[in-house]
């Protein structure tokens, strides 16, 4: 009792203490859920400031487009890098130098290449914000959203997992309701992300004719899906840990609770100890009865009344002991089964997860098989039609031949008759 009230108090204090710190952190993340009202709408948010998302995925050097070859020369050559592994040699600088050489040579020769030497700088500036493909920028957006989810999960991971936080430390605690909130939000967010991917997948192949581009996009979407899966795994892992902790806690609470019940019982017995009837009223456990029955008999027969009281003391001790064992014997197996079942449910849910994954995988395959089968059926139907037509044609042809032969024979007969 005392403990739980202390817990409540501390949670309340925690709420007030950390609200200021935690909320602003969580807030920018949660709007994602607001967006999820219309599935996929968050795919088109206002452009992110500073193109931060875009540079996230673009390779290190390409992202920061070098403004001029000269700017790059100042960069320290990565001697350390290849010096350590002693393999590939970076000749980018040499390439830039060659560009310069070619440029000066062209100038000397008076050849204007690529918009002229003077125009080349403007050219570079003009070119650098190349029109990004719609697809890739959207894909990167989805990735950045998943990245946010990941960051969020990782940020709160420690608090989330730590089920005993309110006992162990004063800082960074989290209540169960908050955990539930995270669960809920994360789930919604994951669903939105996967919906977004689905949508992107549906739109990826529109107005694209090149097979290679299609393949490329499919692969990119696979990557994103895989990324989402990895982040989801992060989440399900920490959720599994949480569930396990809760189960453990319950188990612990039961052990503690049993002690409490025993204490209560002992107290009761103490209160009623002087009245044998009342003691006997407690004998709802038949194990007790079995022991008690022979006892009064022996008392009546052999023991003097003075010693009855003493015996009762002894008996009460005996009773309580028996009661204890009986309690454990009857309820412990039940509890044990309950834990086992709880554990099993967790495992079954894991199995279920695997099966779901497999089923989903097979769904696509079955779909494609279905398509094939439908196609095959169509083909067979067409084939049958063709065959039927061919048969018909054949029959027609036969009729004509027969007709021709009959005509021939008739004409022969006619000629024969005419001749004679």
């Amino acid at each position: 009792m005392g403990r739980s009230s202390r817990g409540e108090e501390s949670v309340a204090a925690y709420e007030s203490r950390t609200a200021a710190v935690r909320r602003p952190r969580a807030e920018p993340f949660f709007p994602g859920c607001g967006l999820s009202a219309g599935p996929g709408t968050f795919l088109l948010p206002p452009p992110l400031p500073g193109g931060e998302v875009l540079s996230r995925n673009s390779p290190p050097a390409a992202g920061s487009a070098q403004l001029s070859p000269a700017a790059d020369v100042g960069r320290p050559a990565s001697v350390g890098l290849w010096g350590r592994v002693a393999m590939a040699v970076d000749i980018t600088l040499l390439f830039r130098a060659s560009v310069k050489t070619v440029k000066t040579r062209n100038k000397v020769l008076g050849v204007a290449v690529g918009g002229g030497v003077d125009g080349s700088r403007d050219e570079l500036f003009r070119r650098s914000p190349r029109p990004k493909g719609d697809f890739s920028s959207r894909a990167r957006e989805v990735i950045s959203h998943i990245g946010k989810l990941k960051d969020f999960l990782l940020e709160h991971r420690k608090d989330y997992i730590n089920a005993y936080s309110h006992i162990m430390s004063e800082y960074g605690r989290m209540t169960d309701t908050e955990r539930d909130q995270i669960d809920q939000d994360a789930q919604i967010f994951m669903r939105t992300c996967s919906e977004a991917i689905q949508q992107l997948r549906a739109e990826a192949h529109k107005e694209i004719h090149s097979q290679q581009v299609k393949e490329h996009r499919t692969a990119v979407l696979d990557f994103i899906e895989d990324y989402l899966k990895r982040v989801c795994k992060l989440y399900s892992e920490q959720r599994a840990i949480r569930v396990k902790r809760v189960v453990d806690k319950k188990r612990l609470a039961f052990v503690g609770g049993m002690k409490e019940i025993e204490a209560q019982y002992l107290k009761d017995i103490n209160d009623l100890s002087w009245n044998q009837n009342q003691v006997q009223r407690q004998e709802n456990v038949h194990l007790l009865r079995k022991f008690q029955r022979p006892l009064p008999k022996t008392q009546k027969r052999s023991l003097p009344p003075r010693s009855i009281q003493k015996k009762l003391w002894l008996k009460r001790d005996l009773n309580s002991e028996l009661w204890e064992t009986a309690e454990v014997k009857t309820s412990y197996p039940q509890r044990k089964y309950r834990w086992q079942i709880e554990g099993k449910v967790v495992e079954i849910s894991r199995l279920q997860e695997i099966f779901t994954e497999k089923v989903l995988q097979q769904e696509a395959e079955i779909d494609s098989i279905h398509q094939l089968v439908v196609g095959a059926t169509e083909n067979i139907k067409e084939g049958n039609e063709d065959i039927r037509e061919a048969i018909k044609n054949n029959a027609g042809f036969r009729v004509w031949i027969l007709f021709f032969l009959v005509m021939c024979s008739f004409s022969l007969l006619f000629l024969d008759w005419y001749d004679s």
Binding site: R56, N57, S58, P59, P60, A61, A62, A65, Q66, L81, G83, R84, V85, A86, M87, A88, V89, D90, I91, T92, L94, F95, R96, S98, V99, V102, N106, V113, G114, S120, L124, R127, R130, P131, K132, G133, F135, S136, I143, G147, K150, S210, Q212, E215, H216, A219, V220, F223, I224, Y227, R230, L234, Y337, Q340, G343, K344, E347, I348, L351, I354
Partner: protein, 618 residues
Amino acid sequence: MVGGKMAATASIRERQTVALKRMLNFNVPHVKNSTGEPVWKVLIYDRFGQDIISPLLSVKELRDMGITLHLLLHSDRDPIPDVPAVYFVMPSEENIDRMCQDLRNQLYESYYLNFISAISRSKLEDIANAALAASAVTQVAKVFDQYLNFITLEDDMFVLCNQNKELVSYRAINRPDITDTEMETVMDTIVDSLFCFFVTLGAVPIIRCSKGTAAEMVAVKLDKKLRENLRDARNSLFTGDTLGAGQFSFQRPLLVLVDRNIDLATPLHHTWTYQALVHDVLDFHLNRVNLEESSGVENCPAGARPKRKNKKSYDLTPVDKFWRKHKGSPFPEVAESVQQELEDYRAQEDEVKRLKSIMGLEGEDEGAISMLSDNTAKLTSAVSSLPELLEKKRLIDLHTNVATAVLEHIKARKLDVYFEYEEKIMSKTTLDKSLLDIISDPDAGTPEDKMRLFLIYYISTQQAPSEADLEQYKKALTDAGCNLNPLQYIKQWNLLSRVMNTGSQFVMEGVKNLVLKQQNLPVTRILDNLMEMKSNPETDDYRYFDPKMLRGNDSSIPRNKNPFQEAIVFVVGGGNYIEYQNLVDYIKGKQGKHILYGCSELFNATQFMRQLSQLGQK
């Protein structure tokens, strides 16, 4: 100390894989991260690049590196405007042209150019010119010389090239009508690849080679090239030597350059170990074996329909544990192990099935409730072990198929008889059956097998058989349907090198040879002499090059008297799995020593016979 040495001698396969991964990761060291954000790019390679990558990285690994598409440079490629492209190509004329064309056509968002071997300045300027013309200079994000111009097949085995292997073949080197410039090109190609190999290995070797052979030419050129590179301290590719792994490499590796002409018998030899057999009788190429299976033989009535052949190809990679363990084992042992593995697999499968029946029982039996507790756990473990089990099944199937195919060849051609007989010839034990009997036996082997046997006999005997005997053999061989061209060549060759050859064969005399492992092949013996600094008439006159020495070009006196810990055997003019296996077996017995085997070309006996026959025609 040992650990340090191990680190310093990370297998060449690992090193090349790391280099490739770094290249695919835009030349930034690759780190494994489970929750990293996905990056995508396309990989453009030419045939050379393909050959280098394919034995090392599977398509799945490429996918994991973020490669969405991998395309040949000279194929039709559609523009994909929003993706970075990683090029991995040879700096050849036509490749450069094609790359310039790509730049002009604005195929990709940015370009990471990687050249398999060093690109010349003028070619680099060609690209620069094209980039300027297409105003795509900023899109060329990085340009790298990768120095990866060799193909690693095993942890300790490499081949120079696969695409233009005719250029560096045994035939090309030993052609009588070869011009000096042609020879120069051949040598340059070999030396360039070897140089790349040592750059990747990160060590400067001490070179030994026999006098007056093609190997000597390679040695001289390689020594020159290494020397030039070391002299230019600032741009030296080996400066890392003193920084990183170099602390441990006081011990420099020994490079033994061997000429194929030293031992012509081994490549013709029939073999008995798994990997070498697969290479000998099946189509085994860059760690991939292609099998032709006739299906439906049992089902269809005889002669009703022609047998349908379907091709299957399997990758035999070091990931495959069975292959790793048994590639060097004698074939009967392999067959036994396949059986063993199959039984293991069956047992595991039965266990899973039994689990199913237990689960079925449970509903009826109330008393089984206590068993229920482990059942879910068992089920979970069974489900999670299923993929592993399936993979195991796939491997067993693979090896069953391969072994069956090999066995068919062995039975049809009586390869066991050949193997045993040749072993006896090579170790000069008394023959219990005359050579003529085997040659004229119509059931034993193909004409090629017979020719191989005879050539081995001809090469290995101390004194050439008399003219009359030779005529008799020739007649028998012609009757068996053999092409005598290879013999022509071997005859010429024999006149030149008989002295040397008998010298080397001398050591082998009296070695009991039924157990393959106890017999060292000539290449292994040479290596043993040089590595352990043993004095032997065979190897005493070998030339000695140390590229790190500033002067003293022409000395053939080894300065270093200590035995070597690491050695690289390189066969100029083609190697085979038999020698490789022999070296591996040899080094197994030596603690803390490592050997790498390389060759200019990897051929099996059939390919070698073809080359010999071409040489004989001229």
